[in-house]
């Protein structure tokens, strides 16, 4: 392991972007990193709100019309190497809001997330469980560490 990947593995910064879900996934993600029970900070996984500092982007929600442009801008602002985790049923397939088999297809939802930005890891659940967030972050790590 090179010195670069050694030090990268010890300071992974996660940025959470909320694109219009129901708040449930976001609180669970903040909970999994912040709260004393799950405490991802002990594995050197930190929460940040600055895209220029972040390594991993966690996206929740089905990407509403207004959130599409900010999401792309945030994705472009993150320096390489970067990984994207789509968390929750809404981020994976639009969730209940997309109204997939319904009579009126929803016009408000531009998602799922992989239509807007490339996604590396997917975490299912409604709402996601804190344990799954940690395993999703672990799945996204090789992309960060193997980059030159």
């Amino acid at each position: 392991m090179s010195l670069r990947s050694y030090s990268r593995a010890r300071a992974v910064h996660v940025m959470l972007v909320y694109t219009g879900g129901c708040n449930g996934c976001d609180i669970e993600i903040v909970n999994s990193i912040f709260s004393p029970k799950y405490d991802a900070e002990q594995y050197k996984l930190f929460l940040t709100w600055n895209p220029r500092e972040a390594d991993v982007l966690v996206v929740t929600g089905p990407v509403t019309k207004y959130n599409e442009k900010p999401l792309k801008e945030i994705y472009n602002a993150i320096p390489e190497p970067k990984a994207v985790i789509a968390a929750g049923a809404c981020a994976l397939m639009g969730g209940v809001y997309k109204n997939i088999n319904g009579d009126i297809p929803s016009e408000e939802i531009m998602g799922p997330v992989d239509k807007v930005i490339p996604v590396d890891a997917k975490v299912p659940g409604c709402a996601v469980r804190p344990e799954d967030i940690l395993s999703g972050a672990v799945a996204a790590l090789p992309k960060l560490l193997e980059a030159k």
Partner: protein, 377 residues
């Protein structure tokens, strides 16, 4: 302004500070414009609608059971109360009498959810205040409630408890579960009182919250503030006292004076023991019997309206039934009414207190962003 023309000391500088839709201080996407003069906020404007998903439009024409489970997805913090109120609309319309035991289980869930919502509010408030230790402490206490909710409903956030006619069979409370709930609420009561004693004894915290961003009683009524934010200004108004399903329980309605950040925070701290009191009474007197009434029949109804007291205030749901399908659904959430208070509370205060002044009203913009503007031509 020309760079070599420095403003004199007497001259005030006017500026506009815009935050959002994605900003570090606000977890949810919303936009705030603060009009500042010498670091004092002169006017504020909050724009919502960034995460508009059109839940009411998707509900149009769905079978009533499906539409009810969709209302749960309006909010991830107070999901149960949305589902309960939506189910209550159908029950009022179809004249269904739910079994007594189902009513008790619903109230236990609603009060557990109120505790978790208030603890989340306190944790978020402390994080914005800059006191991360308290915030982590409160997340730790909240974890107990989340585990209880997972035990009863099977999920940590979206636990569909209420169905038309009662509660889901999975949410039956047996002896083992009742014992666990008792242990959980004892733990929460003790930890919250420890937190409260430390919180009010800290002069550093009090200097940041005492008398800051206050709303008077008159202004609160004028701005149609609801819920704990209204009670923090001294108005004694709680819908739970008038609701029929809360009649068997004995509890006090907490009020505070001043309507500032301190009153708002203490309001939530003091409401948690009252919720625990209701849960204890419900666990002690829970009647035996069935939990679901399956004998009801579907029929068409007029527009039915229902109000309940959500953790954030008064929540309104209404729709009418046509061939078992939902038509013309309207949801009004408490945060919608409280936006006026958020804009008003920060005026005249320092720019550093602005975010705290917005957070003091317990904003939930996911709830709020459903409104459709109807333009008459």
């Amino acid at each position: 302004m020309n760079s070599n023309q420095k403003p004199s000391r007497e001259e005030s500088i006017e500026a506009e500070i815009t935050m959002g839709p994605v900003h570090s201080a606000a977890i949810e996407p919303y936009r705030v414009r603060l009009f500042v003069e010498d670091e004092i906020v002169k006017d504020a404007e909050i724009t919502v609608g960034i995460n508009h998903r059109g839940v009411e439009r998707i509900m149009e024409g769905l079978p009533v059971e499906k539409a009810n489970s969709l209302t749960e997805k309006i909010c991830g913090i107070c999901s149960n109360i949305h589902l309960w109120n939506s189910v209550m609309v159908a029950e009022k319309g179809l004249q269904i009498e739910i079994p007594e035991r189902a009513n008790y289980i619903r109230i236990i869930m609603a009060e557990l959810e109120r505790i978790h919502s208030h603890l989340l509010y306190l944790a978020h408030g402390n994080e914005v205040l800059g006191h991360e230790t308290f915030s982590m402490r409160l997340f730790y206490i909240r974890e107990t409630v989340m585990e209880l909710l997972r035990m009863i409903g099977g999920n940590r956030v979206q636990y569909g408890v209420s169905v038309i006619g009662g509660v889901r069979p999975r949410c039956e409370l047996n002896e083992k579960r009742i014992k666990k709930i008792r242990e959980g609420i004892d733990f929460i009561e003790q930890k919250v009182s420890d937190f409260a004693n430390r919180f009010v004894a800290d002069p550093m915290i009090l200097s940041r919250i005492d008398g800051i961003c206050s709303i008077s009683k008159k202004d609160a009524l004028r701005l149609a503030v609801t819920g704990p934010s209204l009670r923090a200004t001294g108005v004694d108004l709680d819908l739970r006292r008038d609701m029929e399903c809360y009649q068997p329980f004995d509890f006090e309605v907490i009020t505070q004076e001043g309507g500032d950040i301190k009153a708002n925070l203490l309001m939530r701290v003091l409401e948690i023991p009252e919720s625990i009191k209701i849960i204890r009474q419900a666990l002690n007197n829970i009647p035996e019997g069935p939990i679901t009434d399956r004998t009801w029949k579907m029929q068409d109804t007029d527009i039915i309206k229902s109000y309940v007291e959500a953790p954030r205030g008064r929540l309104y749901h209404s729709y009418r039934l046509e061939d078992g399908r939902v038509r013309g659904s309207i949801v009004r959430t408490p945060s919608m009414s409280n936006i006026g208070a958020m804009q008003y509370a920060v005026i005249g205060h320092h720019i550093t207190d602005a975010q705290l002044g917005i957070v003091q009203c317990d904003p939930c913009f996911t709830c709020t962003d459903r409104a459709i503007q109807i333009i008459e031509i």
